[in-house]
């Protein structure tokens, strides 16, 4: 237990410690790309790389929801994000109906839905002290249930507004537009988390609930707000997914739940809370997308994807767990 404390720290090793996890992910991505380039033709083409980045952006944005909830501590996780996106996409598709005129209404509905569901998650977990995974899993059931009931016996009509298609699906030159959204979001997140007191409060609550409480922070409220932000972001993701896919369908978002959590874990964010580095999370998302591409290229399909993701998540959890074992 004391080995860590007695080891002398130099500036170089400090920098190394801080970025160790990010470097690890980066090396893993390079490794996957090298492996892909050796075994498959065309794996390292420019188009392929940008396609990977585009698809990874969606996972990364979903992972932002998780990161905020996880950072607030209390073993928080949000399993309802994918379903939140689905319900928003399904409900707003017919409202927008392929035009920009009613985009504002769709955004308004997305915000309202996000606040409502996120707040419900927050109240149930923070105030009633229920396990977040169980609550958000049940919430996922309810959201999927509403979608099932809504689409029962009829086709989902409506198309996304052209504006959404432009930012979610189109490319500018070779760069996918969603990448610019991601860069903007990263900038905002980094500013809020590192430069304002909100970031300090969020991390403070996650790092040590007791200390935060004693220094006058309303811990429950902070956690509740974290869940609400997650709900709103996930709901807005529904609009982007709709823009990317062009149509809404019953389980368009549910496949993002596991990757969103896995990206956070691979990105080196401790599930114990109190920290968060969005840059690492984005790298985690790119890693997962590259892995998916490889698995699909080798014809392993869904089975390989879920098995691979499950094993990677388990392995990463074990690796990071061994770092903090002290007893």
């Amino acid at each position: 237990m004391n080995t860590v404390m007695s080891r002398p720290k130099f500036l170089g090793s400090k920098v190394y410690e801080k970025y160790k996890k990010i470097l690890t992910v980066f090396l893993l991505i390079v490794l996957l790309f090298v492996f892909g380039a050796v075994t498959l033709p065309n794996f390292l083409s420019m188009e392929q790389v940008f396609m990977t980045i585009k698809l990874a952006s969606f996972t990364a944005l979903f992972a932002l929801c998780q990161m905020i909830v996880i950072a607030a501590g209390g073993s928080g996780l949000d399993l309802s994000v994918g379903y939140m996106a689905t319900i928003t996409a399904v409900l707003t598709a017919s409202i927008m109906d392929g035009g920009n005129e009613r985009l504002w209404l769709a955004v308004l509905i997305a915000l309202a839905l996000g606040v409502l569901v996120g707040l419900a998650n927050g109240v149930l977990t923070a105030y009633l002290k229920l396990p977040p995974l169980v609550v958000t899993l049940a919430m996922a059931d309810i959201l999927q249930g509403i979608v099932n009931a809504y689409v029962a016996g009829k086709a989902i009509t409506g198309r996304p507004s052209p504006f959404l298609v432009t930012i979610a699906a189109k490319f500018t030159g070779k760069f996918p537009n969603i990448l610019f959204v991601l860069i903007l979001v990263t900038f905002i997140v980094a500013t809020i988390l590192n430069k304002t007191k909100w970031g300090q409060i969020l991390f403070g609550v996650g790092a040590n609930e007791r200390t935060a409480y004693l220094s006058g922070i309303n811990v429950k409220k902070v956690r509740c707000i974290a869940f609400t932000i997650s709900g709103v972001l996930a709901s807005l993701m529904g609009l982007l997914l709709l823009g990317n896919m062009g149509i809404a369908f019953k389980d368009m978002g549910s496949n993002y739940v596991l990757p969103s959590i896995a990206a956070v874990v691979i990105g080196g964010v401790s599930l114990a809370g109190g920290e968060g580095n969005y840059f690492g999370v984005i790298l985690g998302a790119i890693f997962l997308q590259t892995l998916t591409n490889l698995l699909i290229a080798f014809g392993l399909g869904d089975a390989g994807k879920w098995l691979g993701f499950g094993i990677i998540l388990f392995a990463m959890l074990s690796a990071y767990a061994s770092n903090r074992r002290s007893r």
């Binding site: 105030y127 169980v134 919430m139 249930g145 399909g301 089975a303 098995l307 094993i311 388990f314």
Partner: protein, 338 residues
């Protein structure tokens, strides 16, 4: 004056009793039982009783297994996926026209069940990863393997496997077994096996350790209990319960399905909570998971009688689960506030 005080005391005691999780869940059980019995025609006829037992059994077995893990201070989000995996393995190993493959399938799947429990247990107990997240990860591993074996529902099963569902359906079963099967459904036997299994374990040191570890892992560790091993054993016991449920499923459907068990995970957790077992571990009787599962099953029946369209089923069951989980927590919450 004395009398007033006495009635006050009695009222207080009654109130205290009702607020006890076990007592309240037993009362809810009786109410649900009465409602279902009035709504369902011939509820007490042997035929419909057998049918009811058959439809309740998988959830009861899963809930009892889940309860063991929860009491030990864990939580299993992979139990539904594990159930699906077991059905896929059973139906992959078995060949329809070769009765002996049924025995192989039983042995192989049982070994896999132990392994599945051990992997969860290593994650929870030895690596000390939060139980919810480790079983979340493993649930996708089981789903992936199940999809490899069975991309679409199907598979083969030997004829005698029907004995786990209905002895009558097995062609060359002995006559006395068939006669017995009409009164004692195999599902009931599986349930009894499960209960006896837990009864035996609860009398051993492991049974006590499971409660000790769940109620306070630090002091259990300090008093010399191997906490990691105990939590792993709890996960393995859970896997055995899931294995029993898988036998029933394959007996009933003669096929395996990689996605069939998913919805049962959350239901099993809800059943445990409804049964009055604390999600924070260490408290509650495993047998009350059976009561909780019965309550949820009765509620399902009542919904069925209410003629709610199929499309609304997921929604309604989701709401019921949230209410079932949040209700007891709300009672605790308002108690704390006072």
């Amino acid at each position: 004056m004395n009398g007033v005080n006495k009635t006050g005391n009695v009222l207080h005691t009654i109130k205290g009793l009702i607020l006890k999780p076990e007592v309240s869940s037993f009362l809810i059980f009786i109410v649900m039982f009465i409602i279902t019995a009035t709504l369902q025609e011939n509820f007490f006829a042997i035929k419909s009783t057998v049918r009811n037992i058959n439809s309740f059994t998988p959830l009861i077995l899963l809930a009892m297994g889940q309860a063991v893990v929860i009491v030990s201070g864990g939580l299993d989000l992979s139990s539904g996926a594990a159930l699906s995996l077991f059905t896929c393995i059973l139906t992959t190993v078995m060949k329809k026209n070769d009765p002996i493959t049924g025995v192989y399938a039983l042995l192989i799947t049982f070994a896999v069940a132990i392994l599945v429990g051990a992997v969860n247990g290593i994650g929870i107990g030895y690596l000390r990863i939060p139980p919810v997240i480790v079983t979340f990860a493993t649930s996708y591993m089981w789903l992936g393997i199940a999809l490899f074996l069975r991309p679409t529902p199907g598979g083969e099963s030997v004829d005698w496997f029907r004995a786990f569902y209905k002895i009558d359906a097995v062609e060359n079963a002995p006559a006395f077994l068939k006669a017995m099967g009409n009164f004692v459904p195999p599902a009931l036997i599986l349930l009894i096996i499960g209960c006896v299994l837990w009864y035996i374990i609860s009398k051993t040191r492991t049974g006590r350790y499971i409660y000790a570890v769940g109620s306070n892992i630090e002091s259990a560790y300090v008093s010399g209990i191997n906490t990691a091993k105990t939590q792993m054993l709890a996960c393995i016991i859970n896997a055995v319960f899931i294995f029993l449920a898988a036998l029933f499923f394959v007996g009933q459907n003669q096929s395996g399905d990689a996605r069939m068990g998913g919805p049962l995970t959350l239901k099993s957790i809800a059943a445990v909570v409804v049964g009055g077992i604390s999600l924070s571990g260490g408290r509650g009787s495993i047998y009350f998971a059976l009561i909780g599962a019965l309550i949820l099953s009765f509620v399902n029946k009542i919904i069925f009688f209410a003629n709610i369209p199929n499309a609304y089923q997921t929604l309604v069951s989701g709401i019921i689960i949230i209410v079932a989980i949040a209700g007891p927590a709300y009672v605790m919450f308002s108690k704390e506030q006072r």
